[in-house]
């Protein structure tokens, strides 16, 4: 029991990312409304982003800004004292990609709504078969 609890707590960030990812995939696969599918997609992308960000964190570390100034001493910089900034920077780009994807998806949803006057996938398929 203790071992299990240990695994759950020490790897909490991974569990969170897995749960979010599963929620996202569930939304994409099960929901019939197109906007709900897109929300699921966004949750999936957010899960990946949070996963990357949590990877950069360290215990007892500070923000990765090295102090330079007239009254501070140039101490030797040890990487273990700073949070790893690289995953965060990567995720800035990934967020931009996610936003662009969301924009394109919503634009497509507007086009689909203009055409079929509904966003329920089953009704759209019914209307396609009617024509």
């Amino acid at each position: 029991m203790d071992a299990l609890l240990n695994i759950l707590i020490s790897k909490a960030n991974y569990w969170l990312y897995i749960i979010l990812m599963m929620i996202g995939l569930y939304g994409i696969m099960v929901k019939k409304n197109l906007v709900k599918k897109i929300i699921g997609l966004n949750i999936l992308q957010t899960a990946v982003i949070l996963f990357f960000i949590s990877v950069g964190a360290k215990e007892k570390a500070t923000i990765p800004i090295i102090e330079h100034g007239n009254d501070t001493v140039h101490a030797a910089v040890s990487a273990s004292h700073y949070i790893n900034p690289l995953p965060h920077v990567l995720m800035l780009t990934a967020i931009v990609v996610a936003v662009a994807t969301l924009g394109v998806a919503l634009a497509l949803v507007i086009r689909i709504h203009q055409q079929y006057h509904t966003l329920e996938e089953e009704e759209i398929l019914k209307r396609i078969q009617e024509t």
Binding site: L25, L44, F51, V55, T93, V97, A100, A107, V109
Partner: protein
Amino acid sequence: MVQQLPAIIVVAPLFASFFVFFFGWRNKHLAFPMAMGGVSVCVVSAIAILDTVIRQGTIQYRLGGWAPPWGIEYRVDHLTAFMLCLVSMVGWLAAMYAKKSIEKELPEKICLFWSLFMLLMTGLLGIIITADMFNLFVLLEVASLTSYALVAIGGSKAPLASLRYLIIGTVGASFYLIGIGYLYIATGSLNMEDLRLLLPGMYGSRVVQTAFVFIFIGFAIKIALFPLHSWQPDAYTFAPSAVSVLISTAVAKTFVYALIRIIFSVFTLNFIKEILPVFGFICWVAALAMIMGSIFAIKQTNLKRMLAYSSIANVGYIVLAIGLAPSSTLGLTPAVMHIVNHAVIKGCMFMAACGFIYRYNMWDIRQFTGLGRRMPYTSLAMILAALAMIGMPPGVGFITKWYLILAALEARGYVFVVVIFISTLLMIIYFWRVIEIMYIRPEKENTFPGKPGVNEIPASMLIPGLLLGILSFVLGVVWISGTFHPLLYAINTGFGFGGTP
């Protein structure tokens, strides 16, 4: 100038995309010449890069002057240079073809189309040339997002097809991103060359193995490998003609290339030999794709949809070639060959199929009676490509199948030889049906509106199609003659394979 070529080949279409949008907005007649200029710069620099690589070996280009593990690096070896040439040339032909077809199908969106077209070329050439895992992800999304938009500007059902493509494609890209994350956790690096050096100690690690699975599945979605193909037929069918041509050739092949690059350059052969059972599984999935793709193709009556399912079968061929690569001395030769061959064949077929739509708005195979006499040259291109794909010697399809069978025999995968034969038989069934209706059945009354007699598509659409059709046989002779063998040898040795081409 020559040292800057790896950057120019990506930057040129990016700037062209911007200028096309800016100037084309005011005067739409400017859009095509500017886009064509951009693609031509790509073709010329791709050829110059290939020449340099053959003479001097691998080119390493540091963006912004930052040294590799920290900065982004562009790395051009033989396979990269070869793929740059293929994609830029196919893009050039597709652009040539697109001019008239877009003017007819989307007269009010010409400027937007060319702007997106150039952005797509940027993404594709960037994917091929980059040596950084995360940079590859960004360019992958640039290429994917532009393909979603390009598919969506097509006809009535296109937005729904495009949205499905977007949802499934983004899941694929996210899986790839998770794979990168696992590799980063394990090694702390994103540069491909650096990863190749850092990974060997960790081949047994579950993190690295999971990363491989995530990356493979992500790309399997993007290349439409059989059980994950559901977005592909709709996207190919409802996209505008010129877009079908481009997506089925340049885009699909670039994603396959990226998969090969990551499997063999980042994970390397030694890793694959440790997880060889997985590669056996990949071979089986590919075999399933070859059979199922062809069976679905037989059921279709829409020509574009039939070609889309045929593409699924052909992706199966390429993945089978990848799967057999570690256990045969032929290495990547069949895979590289089929990437080129399929780009040529499928490009030609989509050009012909969209030519029928352009002239007579015909997409249903059952209506095609007498088409062979009405549009003789377009039909000729279609038939040349169909014969080449079925495997008539010396067509390119015959060469691929020959090498694949050799590889399968060497790897003792006798089942796959049978699968190749069965899939060839199925191909004959669905292509023969088209040929039979087009040439042999008598023409019905009133099938063709407009003037009687020959009524061909414009020369700027016909010539690229015919060129690819003839190329599908000429290229077969070129493969046999051994002109490319030094190049194939260099590609194989570059990835650590034995080296017989």
